[in-house]
Symmetry: C2
Subunit: 187 residues, 2 copies
């Protein structure tokens, strides 16, 4: 049963959207293609009409996320919210895709496609640039340095807070790093 071209495009983006959300929630190995397709409202067999393989899907998702990231220039405030809010730490579907997805292919990155690795690295570069622009008061060279230092702290805090079983400890880590950033940046 063939569908219209518009319908097919919508199907494809539904697959992307569902996979993006589910991968972020459960990791690449924690989600099956059948689950993704079911969430997209299709059956598993239709997958290979849109993507060559699961690895292809992963790479395209990483590229898609990177593209979308380029389209906005958030403030430091919204950066902090998107990383260090308790809600982001609690809900795996929210938040930046880099700390959420990089770990998923981090340990054994080698067995993933070069496209996926390249897309993730590009996301890191874009994020450093974006965050650097959020420090307008600094000199250009110092903008980049401040962005790296600040972002590393945010990523680490989010990772540790997510890993923590104790909500109090998680909140402490998030809020402590947050005040460290705002006090450091205004100093």
């Amino acid at each position: 049963m063939k569908v219209s071209r518009a319908q097919m495009a919508e199907n494809r983006s539904r697959i992307l959207e569902a996979a993006c959300r589910m991968f972020q929630q459960k990791g690449f190995d924690g989600v099956t293609l059948a689950e993704v397709m079911k969430a997209a409202g299709l059956t598993h067999g239709a997958f290979y009409g849109h993507f060559r393989s699961k690895e292809d899907l992963i790479a395209q998702i990483l590229q898609h996320r990177c593209e979308k990231m380029r389209e906005s220039r958030p403030s430091l405030e919204s950066f902090l919210d998107s990383y260090l809010s308790p809600g982001v730490c609690t809900d795996p579907t929210r938040g930046c895709h880099i700390p959420a997805l990089a770990p998923a292919l981090g340990p054994d990155m080698v067995h993933h496609s070069p496209e996926a690795r390249a897309a993730l690295t590009e996301s890191i570069r874009v994020q450093i640039d974006r965050l650097g622009a959020a420090f307008p008061e600094s000199a250009p060279g110092e903008q980049r340095r401040a962005a790296i230092r600040t972002w590393a702290a945010m990523v680490g805090a989010l990772l540790l807070a997510k890993a923590s079983d104790d909500p109090d400890l998680a909140t402490e880590i998030l809020s402590e790093v947050r005040v460290g950033i705002v006090s450091g940046s205004t100093a």
Copy 2:
């Protein structure tokens, strides 16, 4: 073919050791029990004489790592070396187990055993305490705060550097966070 009790104890610790190294390298899902047992010099069937399941092995490894962490009080210098050295970033078998293993069960932590989660959380607490002791010049309350801020930055830097495909970018992130920490701590 039964082996001596001493031999069995050595076999068990060889399994632990091999699994620890391989999990850190490839993630929990990226290593099969057969591979672990082969690396330990045994066949896959012998596994269940030592552990109840793969989840049991994971939990015991996390507990084992946490115990070993308690036994030393490194200086800030050695902390920096064990996180922000290029070698640590390049060689997946080196470095602290928390940023290496937390991501592996981070996204879908829920489907892991409570024991594993608890052991990892306890590791985080121990590490904060250890790192706080490396700031002797600060007041006790400030020690903990400084430890959290510093450690979060180290963890984030390591994660981003490992995720990066470009060695130059990785080195930049590591060294930038390092100078940020030493200049911040001496200020």
